[in-house]
Amino acid sequence: MNPVKFRETKIVLKNIHRPHSRRLKTYLKAGGYQALKKVLKGMNPQGVIKEVERSRLVGRGGAAFPTGLKWEFAREAKDIPKYVVCNADEGEPGTFKDKQILEKDPHLLLEGMAICGYAIGARQGNIYIRGEYFQAYRILKEAVKEAEEKGFLGKNILGEDFSFSISLYRGAGAYVCGEETALLDSLEGKKGQSRVKPPFPAFEGFQNKPTVLNNVETLANIPDIILKGAQWFLKIGSQKTPGTKIYCLSGDIQRPGYYELPTGIKLKRLLIDYGKGVKGELKAILPGGVSSSFLTRKDLSVALDWPSVAKRGSQLGSGAIIILNDTHCMVDIARRCAQFFAYESCGKCSPCREGTKRTRELLTNITLGRGELSDLELLCELQEVMYDTSRCGLGQAALNAVRSAILKFRDEFEEHIRERRCRFGICPLGKESS
């Protein structure tokens, strides 16, 4: 089986180069809403779900859960009404991919959601969009209106016995609201704090009704899977998690940006062919944003798909690939990551609320020259405890970066503690500072 050539393979960003790509007219010219038509005119809901299952599409929002299975759960759930919720809260530092779809090809997302609605038996969809995405919100609003006017959303879509509408809901600045259950609470007008799982949203989601919650990029894959078929999709990228992924490159890289490529592309190739090389000497890589664990030069040959990155002890997550060169102090970076989680913890469960604070304190002390070697063991232990006991992924992943920094760059930490020295001159170490 010959993998489809890299160049040709664009699924979710295939339209964005077109002038006025966000308009319905452009979308229709590019074959838009044909998948929805195909579904409504000739497929039953089970058939749609089977096709998505066969494609082995997994969630692009971070957790890489099989999308077809999630839909199947919601379809089988007895309770009604059912809901489709799109996670457009994009907040993992280093991630800026969903925004491209939202701003440049919103109808692709709307079509994906309508197909999902048909498949699971929902009549209502919600897009939860992060509060700071003002521009994307305006564009989406316009797109929904256009789709309603032309009968792609609303009552009796394309004259068929299927009605589906989509509402927009703006977040208000809280990273945790990207976590699916916190998002649902926020969508209900509450503080965005995680719920205990199970029950999973597919069974008890929005207003405790069966809900499919998917990432923007995930849903944007649906129209092509339906139109071109799972067999086509399976030929792209790596076998276990086929298709494409939008990789976001940021940090010390010559050409930062978003690149849609087949899953399984080698990290080295992404950095060199697409990123045009590292700025300075490569030191470390976070492949899945600040929630992931550090990789190093030794990992350049890793294939960028979820199972392969997991084998290296890290996480691909949403595909936020952050590059660090050798001018950065890993203790300082670890402290920064800790600061982020301490700030963003929702405070609902104590392991995360207290753990993120203590981590920030311990690391700050090390940067001030007040650390002890036993702190390093303590931090690694804390990582385990938080991983095991935190209620949601925020706390579970909060210390990935910290722990991996300690394991892979231990000499830097020890130098700060034993010699009160930061070889980069970044950490204050006893000199007056913040």
Binding site: E90, G91, E92, P93, G94, T95, F96, K99, R130, G131, E132, Y133, F134, Q135, Y169, R170, G171, A172, G173, A174, Y175, S186, L187, E188, G189, K190, K191, G192, C248, L249, S250, G251, D252, P256, G257, Y258, L286, V290, A320, I322, I323, L324, H328, I333, R336, C337, F340, Y343, E344, C346
Partner: protein
């Protein structure tokens, strides 16, 4: 509360069938119009939705886009997350503080600017980045920041 604002809040409440789901959209509206969420608004929303005031108050403090204190006319959100930090985001924050003569989360005495360090804005390919109101500014340098701020003055 101005009657015009009240009307618009009522419209949102109706749209959401009087459910608390109306809370975020209503708070967005008030924040946008008034630059903060006053106690009066909190009690009003609480009574209209039959919620305890502290519940609504909790919402305002939980979400970073809402504030109790009146914010400046222009809100500067400067990203302090890792990808921006790696590209010199710290200097951008420092430059803003110098240029405006205020610290993080403060408002200039003339009420023109509020400075907020925030988490990733999804502009990491243009790091370091910031937003002023709903405009985005990327690939910032100290000089560029000064020019942008002076352009506002």
């Amino acid at each position: 509360m101005k009657s015009r604002l009240k009307e618009r809040i009522e419209k949102i409440l109706t749209e959401y069938g009087g459910k608390r789901q109306a809370l975020l959209p209503a708070l967005h509206l008030v924040q946008e119009r008034e630059g903060h969420i006053s106690e009066e608004v909190i009690s009003y929303l609480a009574s209209r939705l039959s919620l305890p005031s502290v519940d609504v108050y909790g919402m305002v403090t939980f979400y970073s886009l809402f504030s109790l204190k009146k914010e400046g006319k222009n809100i500067i959100r400067v990203c302090v997350s890792l990808p921006c930090y790696l590209r010199g985001g710290n200097q951008i924050l420092e430059t803003l503080k110098e240029e405006l003569g205020i610290k993080e989360y403060e408002t200039t005495p003339d009420k023109r600017f509020t400075l907020e360090p925030v988490s990733c804005l999804g502009l990491c390919d243009q790091a370091p980045a910031m937003m002023i109101n709903d405009e985005v500014y990327g690939n910032l340098t100290k000089r560029k920041v000064k020019e942008i701020i002076r352009g506002f003055k």
